[in-house]
């Protein structure tokens, strides 16, 4: 069985800072990581390989440095890593990205038929959650987004049952295979990489695909040209003026809390702090 995982290298946005003068991102010193959701997607692929045999391919479109991310995937148990990298891909929005990834997956599928495609739920740099659904739509494959886990997976009967996080609960969906899943972190717990993987990864060189070879991507569908959306303006959100700070250490507990309750009341954000239903019985007694 053949699984393809799409991964993206992203700046660790929990460490991102903005230059307040220019409103631009300070990238220096911000570590590049594999998008956290994608790590779980890779793990699921590796788990399935352990159970059913076969191969796992990881693909990414990004700058040359993203080769590192593919090497980390090999440490995790991926067999083959493909870096799709070319200046011509720069400034791609999700439509252009899904074109490139979709075309690459089609080519890989022609070589070695794909049973499952795994994407992260969303990439933490843009948080769009659009690329996975975009690729599924382009390839005409069933899509299950927000996948929480596989309840069953049968590569022979080509069926899977997937748990999906919906707005108000969890759906159990049966899909035919191949299908494309965008995954939540729950989908597979990440295990420590075994030594043989580390050894293999140490000398692994991902394949490099450009805009022309081995595939010729349509120049009208990639990069800026293939991207219907553009960033008109970027700015830092204006800071709010912080409110007063009451200190328990200075005013004492009871007094601080009493002042805070008074402030809430005078702000008019709760109806009243008087008769609030504490238990259903009391609610009835207030009639």
């Amino acid at each position: 069985m053949h699984t393809i995982v799409a991964i993206k290298q992203v700046p660790d946005t929990s460490n991102v800072r903005i230059n307040p003068e220019t409103g631009t991102l300070i990238r220096e010193g911000v570590p590049a990581i594999i998008n956290p959701y994608d790590v779980h997607a890779v793990e699921l692929a590796v788990r399935l390989k352990e159970r059913f045999g076969g191969r796992v391919t990881a693909i990414t479109m990004g700058p040359a440095a993203a080769a590192e991310a593919l090497v980390e995937c090999v440490e995790q148990g991926v067999d083959r890593g493909i870096l799709i990298s070319d200046r011509k891909f720069a400034a791609a929005d999700t439509l252009a990205t899904s074109y490139v990834l979709g075309s690459a997956i089609e080519a890989l599928n022609a070589e070695d038929p794909v049973d499952l495609l795994l994407f992260g739920l969303q990439a933490i740099d843009g948080d769009t959650a659009q690329v996975g659904p975009g690729v599924a739509t382009r390839l005409g494959l069933p899509l299950i987004s927000y996948a929480l886990g596989l309840e069953s997976f049968d590569p022979v009967a080509r069926r899977a049952v997937v748990r999906r996080k919906a707005e108000r609960g969890v759906e159990r969906l049966e899909t035919r295979l191949p299908a494309l899943l965008t995954v939540e972190k729950e989908v597979a717990e990440v295990a420590r990489a075994p030594l043989p993987n580390l050894i293999r990864a140490a000398r692994y060189q991902p394949e490099l695909w450009t805009a022309e070879a081995p595939l010729r991507f349509d120049p009208d569908h990639i990069g800026i040209k293939g991207s219907p959306t553009i960033v008109g303006r970027a700015y830092t959100p204006p800071p709010k003026t912080p409110g007063e700070r009451l200190r328990v250490a200075e005013q004492g507990l009871a007094e601080t809390v009493s002042q805070a309750l008074a402030a809430i009341l005078s702000a008019g954000v709760v109806e009243s702090l008087g008769p609030v239903p504490v238990t259903p019985q009391q609610e009835v007694s207030h009639g």
Partner: protein
């Protein structure tokens, strides 16, 4: 100047579940009405798919739709990506809207990206602000990016429709105008079950069913709450204030409380009247989900915690002390008021 109603179409996808419309649909109709006013002769149109959803049609009119395209089909009873994506894309191709807004819910994000890909147009995710660019007369869709550190305004110059998803509770609910009428267009989509690759086998409603998105009072806890027992006390406080419990991501990851309580970038956006943040540091990924609250009260023992930068009032103190005291004083007030009502 164009005839009213003959100008560009501003579309809203009406999300429903079991015949109940998601309020984000009405928030979007409010936004669409504002956008239509800025475009000569703009009309507001709603798209409604589902089964036995007739009751929603007059609601869509009441919240501002001039026209509703409705497809009622047992095959559409539960949301699935493919029939909805095919169906709505067909309608888009037939009626050529200028702008198309969808709620950034799980359903909406799943659907909107598939539609945008089918019709090969641009889609801006999770917008917090929509306006018409005064020069270009096109949609200016603003969204937080890089984890809320930066705001970006996105334009889609050439392709149509210009699509955007917007999170629930980011835009105000417009006033409902009962009795407002519009045109109902029934849409035949020609979908066949045999073509659908995915089948819904079952649904488990979220435990607790906390509906934090639309709560007026949220008592939220972070790592500083200490553990599940601390959350039990927050639940008491929430009850005393007539609210619900929210949480930061690490405590959800740690299993102290269910994911449906999570507030923030990867959780829910909330806009309560009162947001009480207990033992939450106030990382930007948390703040993007709650900074729209009317009043924020933060409790943290670190006076430098970033949460204080967005708080209207801060208490520098220990959650383990302050929360029980809040409960005690609230209960004392309740008891006092009860005594008073008997007098």
């Amino acid at each position: 100047m164009a005839e009213p109603g003959a100008g560009p179409k501003i579309w809203v996808f009406v999300e429903q579940d079991g015949g109940r419309a998601h309020p984000v649909s009405w928030e979007l109709l409010g936004a669409a009405t504002g956008l239509a006013e800025q475009l000569a002769g703009g009309v507001v149109e709603a798209v409604l798919l589902g089964h036995a959803v007739q009751a929603i049609v007059p609601e869509a009119f009441a919240y501002g739709a001039d026209r509703v395209y409705c497809s009622d089909d047992p095959l559409l009873a539960h949301y699935r990506n493919l029939p909805y994506a095919i169906g709505v894309s067909q309608l888009v191709q037939a009626h050529q809207p200028e702008i198309f807004l969808v709620g950034a819910t799980h359903l909406g994000r799943d659907l909107a990206s598939s539609i945008a890909t089918r019709v090969r147009t641009g889609l801006t995710a999770d917008c917090t602000e929509l306006s018409i660019d005064p020069q270009l007369k096109i949609l200016a869709a603003t969204r937080p990016t890089f984890g809320g550190n930066l705001m970006a305004t996105i334009l889609c110059r050439q392709r149509r429709p210009q699509m955007a998803t917007v999170r629930p509770r980011v835009l105000p609910l417009p006033e409902r105008q009962p009795g407002r009428v519009g045109e109902l267009v029934r849409a035949e989509l020609g979908l066949r079950e045999a073509d659908m690759p995915v089948r819904l086998l079952g649904f488990e409603p979220a435990a607790g069913g906390a509906d934090i998105e639309y709560a007026d009072v949220i008592v939220a806890g972070g790592r500083g709450v200490g553990g599940p027992e601390g959350f039990a006390r927050l639940a008491e406080l929430a009850e005393a204030l007539g609210g619900v419990v929210g949480a930061s991501r690490p405590v959800v990851d740690a299993g102290w409380i269910g994911y449906e309580h999570q507030v923030g970038q990867t959780g829910k956006t909330v806009r309560p009247k009162l947001y009480l943040a207990a033992g939450i540091s106030g990382a930007v990924q948390h703040r993007v989900g709650m900074s729209g609250a009317d009043f924020i009260l933060a409790i943290n023992r670190d006076p430098e915690a970033p949460i204080f930068q967005v708080a209207d009032l801060g208490i520098v103190g220990d959650v383990a002390e302050v929360v029980p005291e809040l409960i005690r004083q609230l209960r004392a007030r309740t008891a006092g008021a009860q005594g008073g009502s008997h007098a």
